[in-house]
Symmetry: D2
Subunit: 424 residues, 4 copies
């Protein structure tokens, strides 16, 4: 976190308590419509229970902030140190990930109490009345900001993990009770970008260590699609036999398709919904998708989502295009934000966009020292970078140098496709 | 269920409603100390959530009784037919067993409502006011009795499955808050039984189809241990290297030990319990067991439990003995109950006792027709019979011809060892 | 081997050298048509390479006879003790079973030399000139006989394992070059047997320890099919949807079918054989079987083979019958051999016949002491007994009390079905 | 192969027949010391039998050259099209990869005949007497060259796969009978390279499609180690607890270590070799490595080999360095070859060197059309690039833009570590 220190000083200690309260309250609000049973279950090893997310984000503040800055730290419950540690070997033992759903104790009520308790103590630390050296005060502000960014990441995961859990329930429950809005489809155009040396990585504002250091890359000329691939376009790929043509797929992806019997994106299903659900148009051709709105007819104009890297890569090949590199995505987005005359749309807030880039350290990357160094660095193998943000990313958590990453088979995130092409 | 019909007519229709109410209430009472989270989680594919047990036993009455006898049957919720079907192919589709813990909906409250609703309708059917042909009334009584026996089986499973769930929680919760009573150890003696033709299988009273038909078997002379193997005796086996000597084990059992890293019975652990727990005697040698009372020092005089068939078989070999056959167990128990002069103890109510008998149909066995024929018959492969009953078997659910059965590796039941020997 | 000792003294030391030479030569003759490549490969963990069988049977003589009786024993090659130990923990370490096919060294030539070397030394021991105590001489004869019986078991396995290996080769090689003879189908009749106490187990002649002690069992009256189930009959089962009806199957068997995608017996396939192979009759309905004769049209009159216990059990249920217990099979066969007026046919020499009996020790069973005690006893769990013998069982290796055993899913043996029924 | 066509025209048709003969003969020479058993076995799914390599490389010529250019093509044996197809979906079905070791037929002799037969026909095609259009003649030469490069790749794999097979044999056979030469250790220095735009990818001479198109990349200033990491240095890492410190490892790598129980590089073992093997120095500390020379004391000065990407990455972190990117490796090597004043050693001919670069297409990469397009492109996911060449790479098969690639856990190749660092 060395290089980042300079960036962190921009955090305004005066507004931090309010920001802390707001972010923490948002997690509670997200869980509010759910029962304690909904919050306890875990549908697969990759996902975690809502209750666990609520506790783990609190554990983060307790472990990395209270323990460090409180003069007479005492754990809320010593067993939580192990129970709610996600993956920090530097902190010590941890409860086995696939068994998070078995923690019926502590109860949701107890986790609520844990949150309130830690919140109070963090607020006390943040108060100007709490005596701290100036250097410590800066460190504290930085770490609280990190904890909040961390909590926002988990707010997104709460939604993706809940969606997966509900998808496993034959009752197909809806988290959101109102129906989804129909999407407007934009025409697909190509934004041309020139060759040259570009600067990649964070400049100012908060960032994670994996966005640093800012450095140079050379990009050859390329074209970037003005919008995301739609459900209707993706359906054309399916109906053209895209899932049956090995020549479109990476070898490992093809084997995975066969083994897992995959024939369409996650949460897509072909079915008749009897209870008055109107099949809006011919285009949806009987397909439905399961979303936070429950089971809904496929909207052909909406962005295709819950797509793995292997599927995104195969689709792009079928479409005579390719995925952008993360440098291409970031450079084009930066330009669009600066100049304002770009045709690029749907960069943020719809779904994460797979890039062709394997997740790797930037030249000169140095993780933080201590357990926090495990935050990002140890995952830089066999994962692919996604850029942008999604419809369940919390407000204020998107930026053009943000590096999200998942394995090539991951599908339960809100992940989709923006195409690119060589040349101009 | 052909042969059984004659047995069934003994059920007294006048007392059935009260019996129905009592058994159904007992399931609710068992779940009463638990939160809705506790009732929803599933710790392994072999175990089911408490909520699922509560719903499935209700489904049994709805599917096999209401649907058959009500003149204008309407399902409480049509989706429950699939959700709460355990293994009856004859009834149709079913929710995948390992995913029972993901059913956060319907909620525990809704399952309570389901139970109340079905209870009312069964009571209506059982009322003398409900017009039914005499033959149907007999069938109804028989099936209600079957449903109650079925529910009693699940009452035991609720306890075994909950114990397993709690054992996965590092907080080691206790279901029962008061401490266990120390066991009195009886001297071990051998009951000698002569050779001869013996009659095996059910005579009168309720029985499952697998206890029929009553038939003859020849037994050579044998000796049966007067009591169960104790924790202290089993500890001697462990300390003598029992888990490290392949010559004591079935080949498949030995491979299983190595693969699963098994070194002691399930729920045994070696640990120090700090908070004032008194290590009562030298004999327990630092060992503890996890039980419905939470983590407790091992009581050397109590019966050894949570033992697989492979372990029971290896222990018996180490002890210079063997497991009894199920005919030997049943015959000796029958004699003991008739003559009253037997030295045999702990036959019922402590723990199930593994026999050397593979679970197989009795000569002339015929399962019921229809889906209920799947109750027992289709499990007669690669399982071993246990006899007796356990400390979590409901009152009135034990009998000397009862055939419990589990695979040779099953350990989460309350299962232990009674030794036998050839000769006299 | 205690009880067996009395039986063993019947072996005639004068004829033993010739018998030894004949059995040993037969193994070599079986391998003669095969290349060194054919003899080295291993097609699955359950099967072993021919070369390994040739070496292991030799290892048996070296380890259990030469090492015990030679006054100055020296191993042919000390590494062979580990390489060719099958499963005797009492002898020590062993090469991992699934890796037997990786032993390209020692070469087949070296294994031939090993055989010749050990043969010579055994002959020397058997010579009257070799000075041995009378007791040792008897023990020696008994152990040589055991070694020969052991080698005969492996002669059968050489054929079953080779057949499996060849079945994995798309070239479908034939071990036997001449075509198979068409089978004559006998009419199916039922042999009725009365209830009573019967004696089961070995009397005189050689036997394995698992055939002892002879003891009493009670059998209820039963009917036994006069012949084996034919391919044509089994095809009726398939065409009636036998593999798609869960009600015919054990629960574990049904799960296995689904998981493994099993739709017919092993080595059956539906195909057109172009090169002049005449499809003999309508009855074979396009089906072929792969056998030691290569790929051949299914002979509807021949006995159905390469059938698992699960399939045999399901077939019997479909046919309104059941499998016999091993006591029923042995008793009926004994009677047939004594009285000569039975209608029973195909008891030996066609294929092994699954029984409903789980493989378990006879009352009073005691394995041999030392490593040879592992020969049979440690496999008495989760396996089913087969009776009779097969077309690849060596001459002189069949007897009515012989207990063969395999897991319920095993199909690569020459295993088939003889039906039974309750009553008379 | 579009862009490559220009490069291909450099192939001299006059020398091609001799080159063809030489490369083909070299494969036979490599197999010469081996028995037909050695050539048939397959030790793991990733490796192939020698016989299969000999046949597959021949299949490549038959399928991609004879079939295309011969006027009246007839397959040597039509079944070989499936048997010896490695992974070309475009060619059709193929024999299951993990079952290559079961192909005892065709015999090694038959594969030799296959090779001779195809060789003759290729020679006929290459003869000036064979009438071909000029364009076809160029294409033919290009494809024959591709086939030879392909065969050279398999020559390396023959050695790596044989080494793995022999390592599974407790007899530890040696392929090479003379002892290895002790290595001279060079001092470790750092070669400094300036920042700038560099050109990456093939220029002239043969190349695979994945080396194209040549393109620009920007590199920040870096240091490259002058030599490979030695066994002695790697031993320091082991002895410092490198395999027990999660902070040194990628998260996925750490999980893999635990699951697979990995504590040192492949083929390393700690043992005493009794038969006169002199433990040369203190530095080898009891360790041995298995190599083509058999089991040998670890030479502390030799390059560490048979190391996975995960191990290479962890070692580099422990050493305060990192792995180079493939662009850094290629640029530095290019410079060294051009200027001649570099300190860089061991770039080729010792072992392949892991880079930090995920295997991905160069900007503008286009695979060949047809089945040959599967040669490289479909493997560009979840693999890492290795640069240089190894001691078993055939002469003339090394070049500075060559891109070898394997998954992060692969260890049976001759793969090692060259360190890099940021800055100057």
């Amino acid at each position: 976190m060395n290089a980042k220190t300079e960036i962190f000083h921009l955090i305004d200690p005066a507004t931090l308590p309010a920001r802390f309260a707001a972010v923490r309250a948002h997690s509670m609000a997200l869980a509010e419509p759910l029962s304690s049973e909904d919050c306890c279950a875990q549908s697969m090893a990759d996902a975690s229970p809502i209750k666990w997310h609520l506790a783990h984000t609190t554990w983060f503040f307790e472990t990395f902030i209270l323990e460090r800055f409180e003069r007479s730290f005492r754990a809320f419950d010593p067993s939580f140190r192990v129970l709610f540690n996600s993956y920090y070997n530097g902190v010590g033992e941890r409860h086995a990930r696939p068994q998070r759903g078995l923690l019926t104790r502590p109860s949701l009520q107890e986790v609520h109490a844990y949150r309130r308790h830690v919140d109070e103590r963090v607020h006390k630390l943040l108060s100007p009345a709490y005596v701290l050296a100036m250097e410590d005060r800066t460190q504290l502000a930085n770490l609280v900001e990190l904890g909040l960014q961390h909590e926002q990441q988990h707010q997104e995961l709460m939604m993706t993990d809940l969606l997966h859990l509900f998808s496993c329930n034959p009752l197909k429950p809806a988290y959101v009770t109102h129906p989804p809005l129909p999407a407007d489809e934009q025409p697909q155009q190509w934004q041309a970008i020139d060759a040259g040396i570009v600067n990649i990585g964070a400049t100012d504002g908060f960032c994670f260590d994996n966005e640093l250091p800012r450095h140079r890359q050379f990009v050859e000329p390329y074209l970037l699609a003005s919008r995301l691939v739609t459900n209707g376009e993706y359906l054309d790929f399916i109906e053209d036999g895209g899932y049956r043509k090995p020549e479109l797929w990476m070898s490992e992806g093809w084997d995975w398709l066969q083994r897992a019997g995959i024939l369409h994106p996650l949460y897509w299903q072909r079915c008749e919904v009897s209870d008055g659900a109107q099949i809006t148009e011919l285009d949806s051709r009987g397909w439905h998708t399961f979303s936070l709105h429950g089971l809904q007819p496929l909207d052909p104009h909406a962005a295709a989502m819950h797509i793995s890297w292997f599927e995104a890569d195969a689709y792009a090949r079928w479409a005579g295009a390719r995925l952008p590199t993360e440098a291409e995505w970031e450079h084009a987005t930066q330009q669009a934000m600066v100049t304002g005359d770009s045709i690029l749309t749907q960069l943020f807030g719809v779904c994460w966009q797979w890039t062709s880039s394997s997740y790797a350290p930037y030249p000169g990357y140095a993780p933080a020292t201590g357990a926090l160094g495990e935050y990002n660095g140890k995952f830089m193998a066999n994962q692919y970078v996604l850029r942008g943000s999604s419809c369940v990313t919390p407000e204020g958590h998107s930026r053009c140098n943000y590096r999200n990453f998942f394995p090539a088979t991951a599908r339960w995130q809100f992940s989709g496709i923006r195409l690119a092409k060589q040349g101009r």
